[in-house]
Point group: C2
Chain length 320, copies 2
């Protein structure tokens, strides 16, 4: 790297099953600015989504007063599912319905700037490690709580992707071997209890009944719990305890110094984190528990955007 | 390192709750030779144990026709429990009853050669990675099945010890959050089902009754299962399935290329490994499962001896 000043911005992109999120990330710290969100509409295909991402990046740059492409080094993108990192190809994404799509190439063509592509949960973990709640951690695990439960691991400053790119899938670790059936086909996965839809289903099972007729979601359950609804509060507390079992398991295996919880549910605060920490204290070794901070994400909704941009930066700094 | 020929042997030592195991490990490959086993007698204290280890190392060298100390570079030792790696101090070992013992120093004094000290499960993992069933692995996890269930992780050729030295404690990961009570105080740990004593207890609960009056141990249960006892076979199969849950969890978190099972129970063969692999196939992602070999240890009883010696060698090659 030379000392010459390059573009100071990177566009971070999170390509989710439901939404596209785009924001501009500065090279010198801070969260994303000029964040734009739009439906992914995966059924229109990956090329159409890539074109929409490119338009959102331009829009975001215009809103932030950043010249595009002159002052934007490129696009760091994250997407769900296993992928070929070298070629930037999405192999299989149940949430998007795309198979063997050269997504990075499509982004480069649509936007006319360089791009990188990484797993979205890895992006979130890296974003929290580089700029968020896990700065300076030697070993960080980040859980992303949403429609599914994903996870990413950062070890000694590098994402631990595993030998076939699927490390960090904490959502499918089992906490109850004869427990609830998970979407993956196995029983007792954390996701079967603590994903957004699972929280809503458990609340309905527990007899939670919203005052006005509305669709019950994890968000409405968390809000009702905060407003004092006992049944909802019980479900949120149980969710915390179940996540605590998974977090204690991570402490036993990895003995990390930071575990970050990202995603909407992680904003439930003490109603969730209280029971979670209590369960961890019951299960983890005292020395491992003392050595580990458990934190809500600094960027609950945009850790993936920040991390995707930062992974672009690290790829520029040290090309493979 | 210079090209000058140094001592070609290292003494590997495994200091267990029950036994001391000592063997000589050559620098150019192969398992330990002139292996000696003796009771640990921890109640006599660490200094006495260290003196006995030194005597066993001399005995082992004499039996192998190796000059001591001239042709023995030093002692690589492993012991259970959390330890201060830098100072070689055992902090706390429930199995030995020693607290804050400068065990490495005691070994150096007793034997008059340099020594290193590492966690015993880490030694086993490193031994299997360096010379056993996991040679060449990028990411290896080794479970040691015994009185307790330990574990070690080798990532990119280095032991992942975690931030407070307690990574790899797979035995205390939970597979059934409201399950059997474990010695650690938590419910549903793998160890509560699949440790040696737990296997024996589950066999007795299941009505397994040995023909001749004898103490029921995991070993007698495994032998009876191999001899066709149905109740014993059922217990061994269930043990395999429960270990399979833990192994699938490791695949989800770490996505390793090799998982090694060491210790006596791992020698039960297909009666254990069949149900284990079936459970893994049910739970792990297909790509992660396809990328990972599950193997019995190459050194079921002496992986810790080999790995302790190899960790000594790696410390000599690259002093901290």
């Amino acid at each position: 790297m030379t000392g010459a000043p390059g573009p100071r911005w990177i566009a971070g992109v999170d390509i989710g099953g439901t939404n596209l999120v785009v924001g501009l990330v500065r090279s010198d710290g801070g969260g994303p600015v000029a964040v734009r969100t739009a439906p992914t509409r995966p059924e229109e295909g990956a090329a159409a989504a890539a074109r929409r991402v490119a338009a959102m990046v331009r829009e975001s740059a215009a809103a932030a007063g950043v010249r595009f492409p002159d002052d934007v080094a490129g696009i760091g993108a994250g997407a769900p599912g296993p992928m070929e990192l070298d070629s930037g190809t999405v192999r299989e994404t149940p949430n998007l319905g795309w198979r063997n799509v050269p997504l990075r190439e499509l982004l480069v063509e649509a936007a006319g700037v360089p791009a990188t592509l990484h797993n979205d949960a890895d992006c979130a973990a890296y974003g929290e490690w580089r700029r968020g709640a896990g700065q300076g951690a030697r070993c960080l695990v980040c859980l992303t709580l949403g429609t599914g439960i994903g996870g990413g691991i950062v070890l000694d400053g590098r994402v631990h992707q595993g030998v076939s790119g699927s490390a960090g899938e904490v959502g499918h670790t089992c906490v109850e071997m004869n427990g609830l059936l998970c979407g993956c086909g196995a029983r007792g996965c954390v996701e079967a209890y603590a994903s957004g839809p699972a929280i809503a289903a458990r609340a309905l099972d527990a007899g939670y009944c919203p005052e006005s007729p509305q669709r019950v979601t994890a968000e409405t359950v968390c809000r009702a719990a905060a407003d004092g609804d006992r049944k909802a509060a019980r479900v949120v507390a149980d969710t915390g305890a179940i996540l605590g079992v998974a977090v204690a398991n991570l402490m036993h295996v990895l003995n990390p110094d930071v575990i970050v919880l990202a995603g909407g549910v992680a904003r439930a605060g003490d109603l969730l984190f209280g029971p979670l920490r209590r369960e961890v204290r019951r299960r983890a070794f005292a020395s491992a528990e003392a050595a580990c901070r458990i934190e809500p994400a600094a960027f609950p909704e945009t850790a993936g955007v920040v991390g995707a941009a930062e992974l672009f930066r690290s790829a520029q700094a040290a090309p493979a």
